[in-house]
Amino acid sequence: MIVDEFMTSKIETIRADRSVYDALEKMVDKRIRYLLVEFEEKETDYGIITARDLVHKVLIKNLDPGEMKVSEVASKPIWCVEKGADLREAIALMAKHNIARAFICDKEKIIGVLSMQDVMAAVLVVRARGENDS
């Protein structure tokens, strides 16, 4: 099974120079766990900011999210698999780098994201199709 089948193509983004408060607001408002961070220097330069980053790097330490920039908290690089790649390739990448989501890229452009939830759904479908031994 290819990754495109189960990826989520709607990806919320935030610019790296925005405040952490803006990121918090967006994530709570849209009920999502991460934002793709766009750095100004290069169009294809991305990072990621997750709910875990916000809690562990800002909130627990009692830092002011209004005073911090997204770029200070975001993680880089992001990990990508090519469009049309096999699901197992994405799972291996996620396991190797201990990440919760892999981005799906068409050359340098990000076209989707595959989360743990998507992987679980995909594995169940693979089982139901009887393709799990291939």
């Binding site: 089948e5 189960f6 193509s9 709607k10 169940l124 199709r129």
Partner: protein, 210 residues
């Protein structure tokens, strides 16, 4: 097993089940054709999807007449007929989506996502065929049913994002907007119909085991 008896006892039952199998297979073919036509922007191929609905209609009539000519015990018949009627409504959605595709001016902003829905519809229909096969082989339907629900949820998520995007897209006049809205509606209703059909397959399976 009642199911084994049902399928081995009568010729009529076997013919009716073979008809149902043909009906689902045709639906899968139509979904794949729709997907290929949309991805390749092939209007002639899209036209054949519309024609396949008529073929589906004649198979439906054939199955229902067989059922009411005495195939299966009377208490099975309503569920089997309902299943076939649901498949027919999926053919209708597919036909409407194909027709709207031919007259709509699809904005580039939604084309990729619409093609994704078409692809997932076809994969979901394949799953329904696998489920029917499992029913005929008296296998457990649980995993298959879950897979159908997973596909449906995925398509639902895309649908909301499509509506959000299309709301911000300017249209030339009322009819262009209407056709576009109808296209998205029918394209995303296909998966609802397939999910309903899978529910009925489960009901049929349970009633045959009772």
């Amino acid at each position: 097993m009642i199911l084994k008896k049902i399928l081995s006892l009568g010729k009529k039952e076997a013919i009716a089940m073979e008809g149902i199998n043909r009906h689902v297979t045709l639906l899968c073919d139509a979904c794949w054709k729709f997907n290929t036509a949309a991805e390749g922007r092939n209007r002639n191929l899209m036209q054949t999807v519309i024609e396949m609905e008529r073929e589906g209609d004649s198979i439906r009539r054939e199955i229902i007449s067989f059922i009411y000519r005495g195939a299966f015990l009377p208490y099975f018949r309503p569920n089997l007929c309902r299943f076939v009627e649901i498949l027919d409504s999926v053919f209708d959605y597919l036909q409407d989506a194909a027709f709207n595709y031919l007259i709509a001016q699809l904005p580039e902003s939604i084309e990729t996502e619409c093609n994704r829905v078409a692809y997932l519809n076809a994969r979901m229909c394949e799953m329904l065929l696998i489920m029917l096969d499992a029913l005929l082989n008296q296998a457990d339907l649980r995993e298959k049913k879950l897979a159908v629900r997973i596909y449906e949820k995925k398509i639902d998520d895309i649908k909301f994002s499509l509506i959000e995007t299309v709301r911000k897209t300017p249209v030339a006049d009322f009819w262009q907007g209407r056709v576009l809205a109808d296209f998205i509606d029918h394209l995303t209703l296909i998966s609802d119909g397939i999910e309903d059909a899978s529910d009925y397959l489960e009901i049929i399976s349970m009633s045959m085991r009772a």
